[in-house]
């Protein structure tokens, strides 16, 4: 931290540009997920869905949605200078994110009664969850970086763009799942 005024002026301009860049990226990325949703409804229609385990789907959804709450707590905490709460909530988010990944890739993928080559519904299931899980994974890595640098005291109430970016990205990945969960688990009847 150099002189306070010097930091805030140029840093704030840079921050505004960074925010715009992040939202443009999210706009762009949402087209991938939009395309995946379109593919799902184009191939399977609204009357059928892949045959999946409802309990696993419900549990991972709860895990991911809860994680967004803690992510938000973490961001608010660092904005108020509460470093301890920031680190605690970031760690909880990270753990919930990893638990989600284990639930999807480690459990649901393994117990699914079909492999990726077994028809259109199976392809849709593995691709949609795969794309989403890849995004969760990048979010988890991002959070791990934030946690590591947070432990070294890198963020302050004035300068915590990385935390903010991780939080926005995390919420975005969460919102995607809010569309994917019904598309995969709720709409239509399961195919045999």
């Amino acid at each position: 931290m150099s002189t306070q005024a010097g930091v805030s002026s140029s840093y704030r301009e840079k921050l505004a540009i960074n925010r715009l860049g992040l939202w443009l990226f999210i706009l762009s990325d949402s087209f991938v997920f939009g395309g995946l949703l379109v593919s799902r409804f184009y191939l399977l229609g609204t009357q059928s869905r892949p045959h999946l385990d409802q309990l696993v789907g419900f549990v991972v959804t709860v895990l991911l949605l809860t994680s967004s709450f803690f992510m938000n707590r973490a961001e608010i905490a660092i904005a108020h200078g509460d470093r301890k709460a920031f680190l605690r909530n970031t760690a909880i988010t990270l753990v919930l994110g990893v638990a989600f990944l284990i639930g999807v890739v480690g459990v649901e993928w393994q117990i699914a009664p079909f492999g990726p080559a077994d028809g259109a519904a199976a392809s849709i299931f593995y691709t949609l969850t795969g794309f989403h899980a890849f995004h969760v994974l990048t979010g988890v890595l991002f959070l791990a970086v934030v946690l590591r640098n947070g432990l070294r005291g890198h963020y302050s109430p004035e300068r915590h763009w990385a935390v903010e970016a991780a939080a926005v990205y995390w919420h975005f990945v969460d919102v995607v799942w809010i569309f994917f969960y019904p598309a995969l688990y709720l709409i239509g009847t399961p195919l045999p």
Binding site: R12, A16, S28, V32, Y42, P116, D118, G119, A121, I124
Partner: protein, 637 residues
Amino acid sequence: MKERVGVFEIGLVRGLIGMVLGVLIGLGLVSAIRALLGLPVWHAEAAWVVGGLFGTIGFMLAIGVMRDWIKWALGEETPDFPEADPRFQGWAKYLSVSYDHKVIGIQYGVTSLIVICIAGLFALIFRTELIAPGIQFLQPQDYNTIMTLHGIVMIGGMLLGVGAMSNYLVPLLIGANDMAFPRLNAFSFWINVPAVILLLGTLFMGGLETGWTGYPPLSARAPLGTQWFLLGVYFIGFSSIFGALNIIATVMKLRARGMTYFRMPIFVWTAAATALIALTATQLIGLSFQLVMFERLFGMAFFEPAKGGNPILFQHLFWFYSHPAVYVFVLTGLGVISELLPVFARKPLFGYRWVALSSFGIALVGFFVWAHHMFTSGMEPYLRVPFMYSTLLVAVPTGVKFFSWVATIWEGKLSFETPMLFVLGAISIFLLGGLSGPPNGVVATDLHLQDTYWIVGHFHATMFGGFLFPFLAAIYYWFPKMTGRMYNETLGKIHFYLMLPAFYVQSLGQLQVGLLGMRRRIADYDPALQIEFTHLLITVAGYVIALSLLIALINFAYSAVRGKVVTENVWRSRSPEWTLLPSPIPAHNYPTPIEVVGEPYDYGLAGAVYARTASAVPTRKEGEAALPSDAAAAPAD
């Protein structure tokens, strides 16, 4: 003082070595994992896909374009304005990572010319085959590969050319010192290099026979080369998306004081409209190609009817990008036309606001026309008519541009230097491309024209008129700005007067043989069609175009080193990069901020000023918000 730079310090060399290592690691990794899982060790598809992926990552890591990002992840500070290694001068500067948008723009431009020439050579090869019916020297399999590569490599070259123009010009035209994200800018350029290598690598991996569209089910079964084709296009997509993001952020946040949206040069408007398409729609070609890749790798069934898939889905996803992609090439070129015409007509651009908005009109309508490529594909028939109407609607904003150009030329004091010749040539060719379009957009006629050489002629007319001629005009026009030296005017004129008639012969010939029944993408045709002579003319015209481009390249290369030194405002332009900056422009462009006090195209109006150095106005006080959005960026408490 000047230190010598070792060969292995040059970025490109390091990158290529990194790429080779990356490919080897990828191949080894897949084989090792398969060995551990007890599967047969060698699986060509998986090994080469992962090899291509790791090769690209290896290139980017070795060239060092991600160095600062890695530092950020490790919590290290980096300078606000990244600087390239100052020891790199001359050639070495252009062959290594630089964060200066002008260097990156020239890197894009030179790469674009090289890639376009490679793609053009592919065209010459298969055009030679088509001189006569029957198979001369190219076997159908090789013909397909060469024809496909001509298409996709040329598209890569055009995207690079678009990147060249927007990267070099946008910051200069809006009075900024660089792009909003210089590191991302360097990344966006360099990822093209491994991507193009992957595309050309397909030649040695069994080729590919799908045509540049890569339609399944053929692409799901075509030779191994298809995988690197899919991967290469995917990485070029990265470049498009991040480049576009950068352009939009730059235009929205870094304009000079006083430059409202309706005082921006038209080129900036078109670059922003282009970027809007590239930012969003590109994701869908990436997705469609990835799905084909997965279908090949994991036996997935998106496009396999026997397993519940549907190949029409691919076409929807693919054309949702690939139609707007045409506007990515064309809008930028049309922006150059609107930018240069007033300079050489010494008159204000006619209907500035309408021209500015027409770019966004084309871009937005362009999102709703994709299925006009699919009238004969077996798509739901009720979709045909709405897509026909939306397609014809594109003519409205395009017509706005044409009216503006004609009205700008009207009673202007025209002068005919090489850039102006290329601008006028572009307008006439783009008219041919535009007029040959509606017959394809109307369902009834398209059912006859689909997949004929008519489509080839139409497409080449739009690309030559909408991209290539304006791109060349831009190179000639800004050549003194880029190099500080003047190109050779005589050679420039020879280039133009060879290229324009050759192009007309080529394109009109293509349209004609198409109407007579010549199918596109085939190595052989029926002598009974009696189109041999026209085919010969098309091929000869192709060689003349190649010759004219060769003259241009010699002109550029020679003039950049030996040309007459020029420092003044060669074209008497009102644009700030000519009026306020020396040639070539030093790093970080404007030493003092500029401000915009007038309209951009008031040529011939006495006393009109567009931009001036802002030293007279008080600079912004510390802590005072420059833009309303900055106020919102303040910390919460």
